[in-house]
Symmetry: C2
Subunit: 225 residues, 2 copies
């Protein structure tokens, strides 16, 4: 307990509340084209207590990508060592490159009462669920309709029809995992969906078991009576 105090103190100063809390892990997943990435960006812009988890990857940086902002770029041997030490909360291989979520920054953030946002798919979420347990809050974003999904996939990239078709078919598969999530948001309107996700985040922060300073707070109240 004593060792946590400086962190809790800092957290109290940050959000102006009197009660220390443990952070949470917010996962947003969706089939591509359902608006997850837009919602993630909006959340991060609006909420200073929320930070994005930065993945490690073994692939080379693409033009414009910045180390430490987009990814931590590491070699395969370092990646292997992280897996072996249990330093990754989840990892996957995609087209021959590996991607993973480092455990340590997440645990530090949670202990300080900061929340961490994960923009990952259902496979990553399944691994995170095992390790994150009560810290995990998972939200699945669905498109309102298939024409809407297709329109968004077409606007986003001027891809050939067969690429769009492949994405649509992948979306159908991804969509089947909605039932593994705590919350489901239908993205009819991006502002309404944003309000929904903000409400989920606000409510989850008010969960009794996350407000780790409540015992002390109530004890102080009762001592005055």
């Amino acid at each position: 307990m004593g060792a946590d105090l400086p962190d809790q103190e800092r957290q109290r100063q940050q959000d102006g509340s009197d009660v220390a809390r443990r952070g949470l892990m917010l996962v947003l997943s969706s089939p591509s084209g359902a608006g997850k990435t837009t919602l993630s960006r909006m959340l991060l812009e609006r909420d200073p207590a929320l930070e994005l988890s930065i993945s490690v990857t073994t692939r080379k940086p693409r033009p414009g990508e910045v180390e430490g902002r987009d990814y931590h770029f590491i070699d395969g041997r370092t990646f292997d060592a992280m897996v072996a030490r249990g330093d990754l909360l989840e990892w996957a291989e995609v087209f021959g490159s590996r991607y993973g979520t480092p455990r340590k920054p997440v645990e530090q953030a949670l202990a300080m009462g900061r929340d961490v946002l994960f923009d990952i798919d259902w496979q990553g979420t399944q691994q995170l669920r095992e390790k994150g347990r009560d810290d995990l809050v998972s939200v699945f974003v669905l498109p309102p309709s298939i024409p809407d999904l297709e329109a968004r996939l077409r606007t986003r990239a001027q891809d050939a029809d067969d690429v769009i078709r492949a994405r649509m078919s992948k979306a159908a598969n991804e969509m089947s995992h909605w039932a593994e999530y705590d919350y489901v948001v239908i993205n009819r309107d991006v502002w309404r969906a944003f309000d929904d996700v903000c409400a989920i985040l606000a409510a989850e922060r008010l969960k009794r078991e996350r407000q780790t300073g409540l015992s002390a707070f109530v004890r102080a109240l009762q001592a005055e009576l």
Copy 2:
């Protein structure tokens, strides 16, 4: 399933969404003077999908109280019969009068996707928790400080000091039950606390298991692909 369809249809029309949902039971509890009654009134005024549970009671109506709005006033024999038939979700005796929550209107509301608000204490909540299970969302409202609590108790009623002291002592006892609730809201500012409770209600409505129409919704999406 078939028998539920008309209700679900009606609910869909009410809130303009495409997905049928099951209602929830929202319990607000607090020591008296912490603002629970004000918050309940604000919620009911703002949210047409939320209705207040009307208790039955064996006591006589006070001046200004309206049958069916404040309480359903019934005699002791009728109350006994309701208890015997299991028609009450919770009940208690206070100063020789009995008060209880009728089960039927609550179950009808939940099945139609409407939410029910309960302004009850920790003893009623304990009984409701047993019967309401996954439908129950419980929120405990705490005062920010003891001087604040005392000020509110003094403003509300011009009572003698010993009455105030008795209330304060009761408040200390009530407060000790915060740890039985799902959420805890500290009422530093009534508008901020109201936002907190609104966020909890909005989030709980987005819980996957409450959105009973989601399977059908996703199935329809996938059929289009």
